[in-house]
């Protein structure tokens, strides 16, 4: 192919493309933990988060993106979680957030189990 250095390249779209995203893992996660779908995005989990207090880790955003089929970087992000469980104590919808964190890591990281 011809090669020209234009000094820029075509930017990748930022949009979440639900037609292209593979929702299989997202569906599996929701099947195992239907309560995650009950998230109302209040952000309590992120506000109280021990790791979020020290880094840009945002549990709510990460699991929301995963539910939309955006897995890129989610496992690495999720690994910032210390699993301390404060989020579970504050979730107004009673979501088992620690279970969600572990499930996400299991589905997106090691597939040994």
């Amino acid at each position: 192919m011809a090669t020209i250095n234009f000094g820029y390249t075509i930017s990748k779209p930022r949009a979440i493309d639900m037609d292209r995203n593979n929702l299989r893992k997202s569906d599996e996660i929701l099947r195992e933990m239907p309560e995650l779908q009950a998230c109302i995005g209040c952000g309590s989990c992120t506000a109280v988060c021990t790791a979020g207090n020290l880094t840009s880790f945002n549990f709510r955003r990460v699991h929301t993106l995963i539910r939309r089929g955006e897995y890129q970087g989610a496992y690495e992000e999720m690994n910032k979680c210390m699993l301390c469980g404060k989020c579970r104590l504050v979730c107004p919808r009673g979501i088992n957030t620690r279970g969600v964190a572990m499930l996400i890591k299991r589905k997106l990281g090691d597939n040994r189990s």
């Binding site: 020290l54 504050v90 620690r98 189990s113």
Partner: protein, 593 residues
């Protein structure tokens, strides 16, 4: 005198298979033990731990003292089977010697002595003793049958559900002794001998059956008896009855100081296969009693793990409260096994994790006493304020490790199985404590306390739970709380009580404040609040159900204030209780100056 008849074959083959498998298994497990463990064993053999182990084997493996403590009838059942059978073998041996003098008799000769000894003159004493022992064992078998039908009568609300291999072994076991009774009785009927049991039944046989009929019965009965033994022996190493022999090396290893750890090791095999699946662990489990979940208890966990069918849902669904381990007659280290199973399922060494901890320090203040609130305590600010008040009253200068948000102690992550990642947090906190030169570390979170004491290398730093610290201050006269007529009740947090053995200190503190009334289940038997960080499987509603059950027990004491010493217990019980739920530090702080 030949000690062989064709019917002996099933027994001989069965026994050979069993002993071979047993020896191979133990050999492999021992061989695979880490080198340090092997050295520990070698160093332990010439000490008094060996006779202690022998004593424990007799007390537990034969007499089943622990089960007696759970329920006398259940204890009797186990003892009659184990000790009775042992005595049958031992007395049988003596009987052979008594009849034949000291000479080599093959194994089947001892076991089927009644069959081979028809030509010898009877020794009625042995006939009587052997019949008595047989009756003793048969009474146990009858109880076992009865237990299958009605477990509650034997002090168990639930009984174990078995896998197919177990059912085969169990059926064989149930028939061994009745078959022996029939076989020996038939022989006695034909050739005389026997005492009140075999003799009487033999007499009855000869009175009601023709000689050829009785001879056929005799042959069939001995075949059946031998076959039952053979089947049982073959099935035994692959069934729960493996525990019969495995408990013995386990007792020795434990006495020598070999332990299972957060990583799976060969020691785990001795523990998992020493589980008799008696099901005693099912009853204390709150997942069973409150939530009616009956597939995840230690007995099932060990079973699934042993047969390689452990699913994360089972491994994760445990509060790790330790109530089952407290009652386990074999003293299997259930929580550790559960933990290293989770490690095997989930641990992924990843060096890049928690890189963000590098150079982080959000601590404040300075002093020789360090206070680590823990993540959960940051959600119970009243505890935090109370601790501040107590430090102030005691005049201790305090270094606050994590009041502005710190790094988790690592125990929740470890309990989930990510042990390597947890280590990174532990190292970070250790370095932080050392950097600030504290000599005492106080925490109000029992979860943190346990990990500080067990997994942190904090030599030179005394780690105290706030209940211990407060009691010390009171005893030293540095804290003078007012005593009044308030009636308190106290909930033992799992990690503090069973986990760290701290039962008395919080009680002593409460007694310095008012009257303490104990709930029905307390200390070692105290229930879990339900919100344990070790359980990531049950949902919020289930946690609440457990909390309500616990709160109801505490409220039944009639106390005005429910006191606990764990932020998580406080939050959990607070959801289920009508009465105020306070941390120990709060009730102390309310009553000083």
């Amino acid at each position: 005198m030949t000690f062989f008849a064709p019917f002996c074959l099933p027994f001989i083959i069965g026994a050979a298979v069993m002993f071979t498998v047993l020896l191979v298994k133990w050999g492999v497990w021992l061989y695979r033990l880490p080198r340090t463990d092997k050295m520990t064993i070698l160093r332990g053999i010439p000490t008094r731990r060996t006779p202690q182990a022998v004593g424990e084997v007799v007390g537990e493996a034969l007499l089943h003292r622990s089960i007696f403590r759970v329920d006398p009838l259940l204890g009797y059942m186990h003892m009659s089977l184990a000790f009775g059978w042992f005595l049958l073998i031992a007395v049988g041996w003596i009987e052979t010697v008594a009849y034949l003098g000291l000479r080599y008799v093959p194994l089947q000769g001892h076991v089927f002595f009644k069959y081979f000894a028809t030509g010898l003159e009877h020794k009625p004493v042995f006939d009587f003793v052997m019949d008595l022992l047989l009756l003793f064992v048969l009474s146990g078998v009858a109880l076992a049958w009865f237990k299958r039908l009605r477990s509650r009568a034997l002090g168990l609300r639930r009984t174990t559900k078995h896998v197919l291999g177990d059912r085969v072994a169990l059926s064989a076991l149930w028939f061994i002794f009745p078959a022996r009774l029939v076989a020996e009785s038939a022989t006695c009927g034909l050739y005389g001998g026997g005492s009140f049991l075999t003799g009487s039944l033999g007499g009855w046989f000869s009175a009601h059956l023709s000689v050829p009929g009785l001879m056929n019965l005799e042959t069939a009965a001995w075949w059946f008896y031998s076959s039952c033994l053979g089947i049982f022996f073959v099935a035994m190493p692959f069934s729960r009855y493996m525990h019969i022999f495995t408990e013995i090396p386990l007792v020795f290893l434990r006495r020598y100081g070999v332990r299972s750890g957060e990583k799976a090791s060969s020691m785990d095999q001795f523990q998992t296969q020493a589980c008799s699946r008696c099901g005693i662990c099912i009853d204390p489990c709150q997942l069973q009693s409150v939530l009616h979940i009956d597939t995840v208890q230690s007995v099932y966990f060990l079973r699934d793990r042993r047969y390689g069918m452990l699913r994360p849902e089972t491994a994760d669904n445990c509060l790790m409260c330790g109530r089952c381990a407290e009652r386990c007659p074999v003293h299997i280290d259930l929580n550790t096994l559960r933990l290293n199973s989770r490690d095997a399922l989930r641990n992924l060494p990843d060096e890049r994790r928690y890189e963000y901890l590098r150079g982080l320090d959000r601590s404040s203040g300075s002093g020789k006493v360090g206070y680590f609130a823990g993540c959960m305590t940051l959600l119970t600010p009243r505890t935090l304020a109370a601790m501040e008040r107590i430090f102030e009253a005691a005049g201790d200068a305090v270094w606050w490790a994590d009041r502005e948000g710190g790094v988790c102690c690592g125990r929740p992550l470890k309990l989930s199985g990510e042990t390597d990642a947890a280590r990174k947090m532990m190292r970070y906190n250790t370095d932080l404590f050392r950097k600030h030169g504290i000599t005492t570390l106080v925490t109000s979170c029992p979860i943190c306390l346990k990990v500080f004491r067990e997994d942190y290398d904090l030599e030179g730093i005394e780690v105290l739970h706030h209940s211990e610290y407060i009691l010390r201050l009171i005893r030293a006269g540095r804290l003078l709380p007012k005593h009044d007529a308030t009636r308190f009740t106290y909930h033992d947090p799992c990690e503090l009580g069973r986990g760290s053995g701290i039962y008395d200190e919080p009680r002593a503190v409460i007694e310095a404040l008012g009257e303490l009334v104990e709930p029905s289940e307390t200390r070692e038997n105290a229930p879990c609040c339900g919100s344990s960080v070790a359980n990531t499987a049950i949902d919020d509603g289930a946690q609440l159900q457990i909390a309500r059950a616990v709160a109801a027990e505490l409220e039944a004491t009639g106390a005005e204030v429910i006191v606990t010493a764990c932020p998580l217990c406080k939050k959990a019980i607070g959801r289920g209780a009508q009465q105020p739920v306070c941390d120990l530090s709060e009730v102390v702080a309310q009553r000083i100056g």
